[in-house]
């Protein structure tokens, strides 16, 4: 299985995707949580609005992204906006170079999951005792310093959980990739994470269960190694606190 270049490239895709999506989602959801936490008016409204996409199915979102927002014709939302500036329509999902399809996949996933992690951060932020902020204010700390020395350390437990969940989610990448990029019966040879590749190998018409399970074992090992490594790194940090 490891000798199969398609499987190897799927592993690369998947690691690159995780390396990008995990920090991005982390930063954006933390930012959103901080903004919502500061809001005095309509806080619950903003909280709900950001959280709502979480309730949406990945499949439904993927199809909306594919067919109405990022369709290749002028009436697609993204191309409509480009049209106002006189830019030609871009067939977002058909081009392999430049790889616009990543924009589609990443925005769909961010829209879907940012709200959920924002809620986790928000819960974390609201549990930080206000006396800490008061003490900091008396010491003259404000803005970035407060965030760096009070909010962030106090959110350590939440951050660990969020990172772990994000990583797990990134490794489970299947739904939006499959629904956005598969054309009928086929899937392009790029942006093909291992679960999609194995799906076609073992459960598609190939029915090659042998290679399919070999791939699944390799995948499990990789995820286990990364999970253990991540646990180590975060725990080491704990001791330093």
């Amino acid at each position: 299985m490891l000798a199969d270049p398609a499987f190897r490239s799927s592993l690369v895709t998947f690691l690159a995707f995780a390396v990008f999506i995990v920090p991005t989602t982390f930063v954006i959801s933390l930012g959103a949580a901080l903004l919502v936490a500061r809001t005095r008016v309509m806080q619950s409204f903003f909280r709900s609005v950001f959280f709502l996409p979480t309730a949406c199915s990945y499949v439904v979102a993927a199809l909306i992204w594919k067919m109405s927002i990022f369709s290749g014709i002028r009436s697609g939302l993204a191309n409509g906006v480009l049209g106002w500036f006189g830019i030609d329509s871009i067939p977002w999902l058909s081009l392999a170079d430049p790889p616009w399809y990543w924009l589609v996949i990443v925005t769909a996933r961010l829209w879907l999951q940012v709200g959920f992690y924002m809620i986790l951060f928000l819960a974390g932020i609201q549990r930080i005792s206000p006396t800490l902020y008061e003490a900091a204010a008396i010491d003259g700390a404000e803005g970035w310093k407060v965030f760096r020395h009070i909010t962030l350390p106090q959110l350590r437990a939440t951050s660990t959980a969020v990172l772990l969940l994000l990583l797990i989610n990134a490794f489970q990448a299947f739904d939006e990739f499959y629904n956005i990029l598969s054309t009928f019966g086929t899937y392009p040879p790029y942006a093909r994470p291992p679960l999609v590749y194995l799906y076609y190998t073992a459960l598609g018409s190939g029915q090659d269960f042998g290679h399919g399970s070999a791939g699944a074992v390799i995948l499990t090992l990789i995820i286990a190694v990364i999970a253990v490594a991540q646990g180590r790194i975060l725990r080491l940090g704990d001791r330093g606190e």
């Binding site: 499949v59 290749g72 058909s94 392999a96 739904d175 086929t186 899937y187 040879p189 598609g204 018409s205």
Partner: protein, 441 residues
């Protein structure tokens, strides 16, 4: 899990023709059943779980399986045919969801069907595994009446393993008025087609639509045929290790580079809406879209085969058919064979009804085409003639899913990334050669 089930339902809601597409994906491209596939938890192994009808009759009880056809009335029709059979009790099972996978798996168990349909006949692995029985003697002297390329697709080593039920086809459809306005005659060669597509690309209208992947998934076969080549040679060797194949596949990239292809249409090539809503002037699509095209464009459309590369190539249209097969695990193989023969060979009126009353298909018996009211005149009659004259089974029986995946990947790289066609063909050959050796062993 639930997400994927929703996907499945959406897939089915997207269009009545999805099931048609599933058939076409079978031959042409790799992993079949894409949109329908979902996660395969619906193994569908309980016979007659999804509604069935029993034929009044004596003797054996037979289970007959169909995939879920999108057209209204099809299920009632096949139940009616089965009920009219006197020599056995026939239970019809209508299988929604991932039909191909669940049927293939059920053939290994005792809970499988006796008679079942399968896209383009059984797979080579089913035949090699002895899961389906030889039906050559049922077809007998009606052989010459079936579409030859489809019957050949269901034949291995001189034995035929399925009876074609109805024929579907893909072809090039164009807006007459748009071509007239641009002063273009219907293209007869690939270069004429490219020239026409360039001339027809104006503003938001593109010249040609070959699918949202620029034809990478759909046009591989037709391009090989247009160069006078095929997936495999007559003696089952790799068939397109040839500079002409590289030229032909490179033509798709030429169209891509010229920006004359419609890309990213909301509905892909299997739906007529890109043509009827004026996004493209020409489209490669299926015969099943004709009712929609008629509704949208009236008589303002014409049909063409996929043109020849040049003088020494050939024009072609891909054809496919569900074939009726008999499981070797059937408790009464003789009775199952008898029923298959009765329905799909003897009952010509039922066959005609099945092909023309519920969707837009071609009867698999050539002698019935002239009786089909839907195919009597106009573009439909021309299309039916193309299927008989230049029809090409989508891919040979020995072209396994693994070969199809390798070819699909190569096509993607050639068309979308501009990879060197000759190099990509060599990569496909490296996968296909051992695979051919395996299935021929």
């Amino acid at each position: 899990m639930s997400d994927k089930h929703i996907g499945q339902e959406i897939g089915q809601a997207l269009g009545a023709h999805l099931t048609r597409r599933s058939l076409f994906a079978l031959g042409g491209a790799a992993a079949v059943t894409g949109a329908l596939a979902a996660c395969g938890s619906n193994t569908g192994r309980e016979p007659a779980a999804t509604g069935g009808a029993s034929g009044g009759g004596s003797g054996a009880t037979l289970n007959q399986w169909y995939h879920q056809y999108g057209e209204a009335g099809t299920q009632q029709a096949v139940e009616k045919y089965a009920a009219a059979y006197k020599d056995a009790t026939v239970k019809v099972s209508w299988k929604p969801g991932d039909y191909d996978q669940s049927t293939a798996a059920s053939l290994l168990t005792d809970a499988g069907p006796d008679v079942f349909e399968y896209g383009n006949g059984p797979t080579i692995d089913m035949i090699k595994g002895g899961q389906v029985v030889d039906l050559t003697d049922l077809i007998g002297d009606t052989k010459s009446d079936f579409n030859p390329s489809i019957l050949e697709r269901m034949t291995y080593d001189g034995k035929t393993y399925a009876i074609p039920q109805v024929v579907d086809m893909q072809l090039l459809v164009y807006r007459k008025s748009m071509l007239d306005k641009a002063g273009i005659t219907p293209p007869q060669t690939i270069d004429e087609l490219i020239a026409a597509a360039k001339k027809l690309t104006q503003g938001n209208v593109k010249g040609l639509f070959l699918g949202n992947d620029g034809g990478a998934g759909l046009m591989g076969g037709p391009m090989l045929w247009s160069a006078g080549l095929d997936y495999l040679t007559k003696d089952n060797q790799f068939g397109f290790d040839d500079p002409r194949a590289a030229t032909a596949l490179g033509k798709l990239r030429e169209m891509w580079d010229a920006k004359v292809l419609l890309l990213g249409a909301p509905k892909d090539w299997f739906d007529a809406s890109a043509l009827t809503s004026g996004l493209t002037a020409m489209q490669f699509t299926g015969l099943w879209t004709f009712p929609d095209i008629k509704k949208g464009l009236g008589d303002d459309f014409g049909v063409l085969p996929w043109p020849a590369l040049d003088g020494s190539g050939k024009a072609s249209v891909p054809v496919g058919a569900y074939g009726s097969c008999v499981s070797a695990k059937s408790k009464d193989v003789a009775a199952a064979k008898k029923f298959a023969k009765w329905l799909w060979i003897d009952q010509t009126q039922d066959q005609l009804d099945f092909a023309t009353s519920y969707g837009f298909h071609i009867p698999s018996r050539t002698s019935l085409i002239s009786q089909a009211a839907t195919l009597k005149s106009g573009q439909a009659a021309e299309a039916a003639k193309l299927a008989t004259d230049v029809g090409h089974a989508q891919s040979p029986i020995l072209w396994t899913p693994k070969c199809a995946t390798a070819f699909g990947d190569a096509m993607n790289r050639i068309v979308k990334e501009g990879a060197d066609p000759a190099g990509e063909i060599a990569k496909v050959k490296a996968v296909a050669d051992p695979e051919l050796k395996r299935v021929l062993a």
